[in-house]
Amino acid sequence: MTSVCTLTNISRRYGRHWALRGVSLAVGASEIVGLVGPNGAGKTSLLRIMAGLLQPTDGDVRRQSSEPGSVTYFAGERALPPHVPANAWLRLWVGRSRPDLGRRQIATLSRGMRQQLGLETTLSQCSDRRRWSLVLLDEPWEGLDPDAARWLSSQLREIRPQGASAVVSSHRIHDLAGVCDRCVFLKQGSVVDEVRMSTSMAAGVDRSTMLFEAFDRLSRAEKGTDR
């Protein structure tokens, strides 16, 4: 299978701390990959390396497309520029404004509204959903109400048939289970497990249950390491 983005033996160090160690991951075309792991596991660093915002200390990153805008990344509502009027931000990325936002700055919106604004503008970039385009989302369901969470899940499911791929990091196992083709488990900067949703279907096991079991294994292993 041709990969949209391939990471080979990626390591990243901040000072003396290794955030990632020897991570290899290939994201296939039209594939949605979930990243799961405890806080500090290296999920954000991995996404930023895939987005080209961080350089790996070691390893190689290859992206299929060199077209501008083929990689879109959203780090969460805190990464939005707070002093920009929300409607100016919408007009910039989506080409329209929302009357209910008036002249309010992004900083004055609620957390959930900021998160939805950021997701809307990020996902609009792959609205033509070009083949080989890659959407990278860091904790996208955080702060969303149930309606907005459902909207996000449906948006993610929609990008797949149109040729775009996504890598989504989240602690929300149920939501991830609903959209991902595969979940990669990270612990202390390394890939420790991988669950393919197709196997859950074959085994007749609920997707969420399968992911929760894998996460429990990860947690137990971590506690064992701590002792």
Binding site: G52, L54, P68, L92, W93
Partner: protein
Amino acid sequence: MTQPGPLKIFATILRPPPAMIAAHAVVLVWAGYLGWLAPGDMRAVYVVLLLGQSFSAATGFTVRARRGHFDQVLAAPACRMVVGLAHALVSITIGVLTWLLVAAIEALANRGHVPLGLTLPAVSALLYMSAVAWASALPFARYSSGVVWLILAIVLAGAGKLLALRQAYAAAAEPGGDVWRATGAALVFPPLMVTEPSAPIAISALLLLGVAVVVAGIGVLAIESFDVPLVDPS
């Protein structure tokens, strides 16, 4: 929708705050008043604009980039050189626009004479100040280089060095004057290029322009190689 270009993105994120726009409007009104009252001498307006540019061009990069504000424009496979140039261009725009408007007012008031703001020394002082203010603020927050430059000017004035710099610069006008000393003085305090227009400044002005290009190039290269780890603003 196709992705907007870096110029458009930076124009939205780095738009000057209302106080900055108001300050530039006040300078324009002042220029109009001076143009009516004493059209032959607009030097004070240009000196204030140079000081203003040291603030308005200092938009900062690293702090905002680490908070994720520029993620969508910096994400691969963006050409970081183009991103750096766009950031520089947007940062200096308001100061340059006001400068051009003041020059237009001066030209109108002087009925067709070449305005001081469009002479080689004045233009090189503006571009030098813009480049230095923009590039030196890249690792810091907005306005940082303006604050530093203001403190430097106050310290120089307090220590009586401003007069020495002015004399060094003006001395270059005399036969056998030291152009290098004059250029050094202009590098430390570029408003001299505007306040002392009688000095033989062509070489100094070109040297200042050269330094401006080098400084801007260093800034663009810094953005090109910048690593952007995410820092939580809280």
